[in-house]
């Protein structure tokens, strides 16, 4: 799959190396099977059994972390460089200060699935010695 350009992802995806591919594309490329001969669910199940990390855009999937779901829906684009609270795959609240966001959660007696800063640079790879 190293030389294969990922197709656009409409719903389901699978991590292969550093890329995300539609599951049917991976099975098609690896086996040569016609994409019409199997379903996305079949492809996803096979890849999951093989140990690949699979996920689904726009919902809190069993393997997709909240920020991955949210980032896939482009919901994070308006918040680049800012901190966000994410719950159920959607941005609950955004701000410049993580402490203020945590205190807002406490005050409003809510919980979030994740708190993180949306990287200002989408190409930035943290804690990478060579990247």
């Amino acid at each position: 799959m190293r030389s294969v350009e990922p197709d656009s992802i409409r719903d389901h995806f699978v991590h292969v190396g550093s890329e995300r591919f539609p599951p049917k594309q991976v099975i098609h490329e690896v086996t040569g099977l016609d994409r019409a001969d199997f379903t996305t669910n079949h492809a996803r199940a096979i890849l999951k059994r093989l140990g690949f990390s699979v996920g689904r855009i726009g919902r809190a999937g069993e393997t997709a972390p909240p920020y991955l779901v949210a980032s896939s829906t482009e919901a994070l684009e308006p918040h680049r460089g800012r901190w966000v609270l994410v719950k159920d795959g959607a941005v609950l609240r955004a701000g410049d200060d993580p402490v203020a966001l945590i205190r807002w959660l406490k005050r409003s007696r809510q919980r979030a699935d994740s708190l993180f800063r949306v990287p200002a640079d989408p190409e930035f790879e943290p804690f990478s010695w060579t990247g």
Binding site: H15, S18, E19, R20, L50, G51, F52, S53, T63, A64, P65, Y67, L68, S71, L85, P98, V99, I102, R103, L105, K106, Q110, R111, A112, D113, S114, L115, F116, R117, V118, P119, P122, F124, E125, P126, F127, S128, W129
Partner: protein, 131 residues
Amino acid sequence: MDGLSFPFRPLPGSGIPRPVVDVFVGALDVVPIACLIDTGSIWNRFPAWLAREASVDLRGAPASEVSIGGHTVIARGTMVTLRIGRHEVETHASFCKPWPWDFGVLGTEGFLRWFDAQMSVANRTLTLAPA
């Protein structure tokens, strides 16, 4: 092994799946903190701002200068409760300033030694069971 299984996932904004887990720190129960499992680190490291929000008392905690991820930071450490899934450990963690990253770091002595940990990089899965 009976334990919690974590598919590798990218850090926020990143594209490369890594061993990342969500951990509740101290008394902060409204949102977990995404943490990178770093087998090259010995201790747990978190941003300094998190200490107060997690009700971690750093009064009297000695400060030391440490190098993390290519940055020099001032770390102040103490015992803290970390909760992951249904498992809870009382361990040492340092709260650091400055902290240019958007995630915590869990190290071998500070975190992994409390677990029987299996990491399959080929399958991009981390499994943790209480030791």
